[in-house]
């Protein structure tokens, strides 16, 4: 039986065999740990380093290429790695490596536990402030994809920032709603409007001076809303709730409200 098992048995990783005395200081010395971890049984050969590999396979420095023409001698020897054709006036020192500094694209996106797909959410900033709106999903940049639906409160498919939104405990069951896959940050990104050039005067009106709603957006809006509206209509008073806006009045204090 043991012979049938392959050489690679799944090994359970053992907890640290070196009890901690203080942070960063273990009880056993290096040689003691060597014995405790039975490293004498586990000697591995280090994989061949890149330097050694390069020494083995030396890549060709030049290539001979055929050349046309009668009296050109048929071949030229061409260098594979050519000398740079430009050197800057001053040598620029290399940047030091930094650790843990990630680009925005690589950041971890968080989502509050109170915001789940289908939650009714109150927008606090922007032209739609105070409106109650349905949360659909979180986009790659961390922004929330949200829709009115349009026919209920004139909020289209739009992005909202998590920090500028209050999550309510009202939830709509969105599990049956299929969102088109092309709705992403790139889809919603603001387009730069081109300003008309001064030289031509008013003759040339360059495209897109004003923002126009594309047919694609209208189609996507219809597609998503048509799935949402029947679900909303089923819940009593939800449609009216989404149509209303949120505001504070006399004696209403947000720290006392339960959302």
């Amino acid at each position: 039986m043991a012979g049938e098992k392959k050489a690679k048995r799944v090994r359970k990783v053992h907890a640290s065999r070196n009890p901690v005395l203080a942070r960063g200081i273990g009880k056993y010395s290096r040689s003691a740990m060597y014995a405790r971890k039975a490293m004498y049984k586990r000697k591995y050969k280090a994989p061949e380093t890149k330097i050694e590999k390069k020494k083995r396979e030396k890549e060709p420095a030049t290539i001979t290429k055929p050349v046309g023409g009668d009296k050109n001698g048929g071949n030229r020897v061409v260098k594979l790695r050519k000398m740079p054709r430009y050197y800057p006036t001053e040598d620029v020192p290399r940047k030091l490596l930094s650790h843990g500094k990630k680009n925005f694209a690589l950041h971890k996106r968080k989502l509050r536990a109170s915001i789940t797909p289908g939650t009714v959410v109150i927008l606090l900033t922007g032209r739609h402030r105070g409106k109650r709106v349905v949360f659909l999903k979180q986009l790659g940049s961390g922004l929330l994809l949200v829709t009115g639906p349009l026919t209920i409160n004139r909020v289209p498919l739009r992005r909202a920032h998590q920090k500028f939104v209050i999550a309510t405990s009202t939830k709509v069951d969105i599990s049956s709603v299929k969102l088109p896959k092309h709705l992403s940050d790139l889809y919603f990104k603001k387009k730069k409007l081109r300003k008309p050039k001064h030289q031509e005067g008013e003759i040339f009106d360059t495209e897109k001076e004003k923002y126009e709603i594309t047919e694609r957006r209208k189609a996507d809006q219809k597609h998503v809303d048509s799935q949402l509206l029947p679900i909303i209509k089923k819940v009593p008073q939800l449609r009216g709730y989404l149509r209303s806006t949120f505001s504070l009045s006399n004696g209403v204090y947000p720290h006392k409200l339960v959302f």
Binding site: L124, R129, G130, T245, F246, S247, L248, S249, G251, Y253, P254, H255, K256
Partner: protein, 82 residues
């Protein structure tokens, strides 16, 4: 139309010892908040002091308002000051 989405607060003075005051931090009495544990909601929220002055400055909305912005950093005392 939208109603109010903000809370009112009174400017109660600057952060101070008995005889010296530090004008870079202020004390605010938020309406409706009268105990220390109620201030948790407001921590980190932005504050704006909006006032009018004679010469109009550029503002979004075109109105002659001026603002001093700030934010709530921590609670002060046990009666909900901030």
């Amino acid at each position: 139309m939208t109603g109010k989405l903000w809370s009112k607060a009174n400017f109660a003075g600057y952060k101070r010892g008995l005889r010296n005051q530090r004008e870079h931090a202020a004390l605010l009495k938020i309406e409706g908040v009268y105990s220390h544990n109620e201030t948790e909601f407001y921590l980190g929220k932005k504050c704006a002091y909006v006032y009018k002055a004679k010469n109009n400055t550029v503002t979004p909305g075109g109105k002659p308002n001026r603002v001093i912005w700030g934010k709530v950093t921590h609670a002060h005392g046990s009666s909900g000051m901030v």
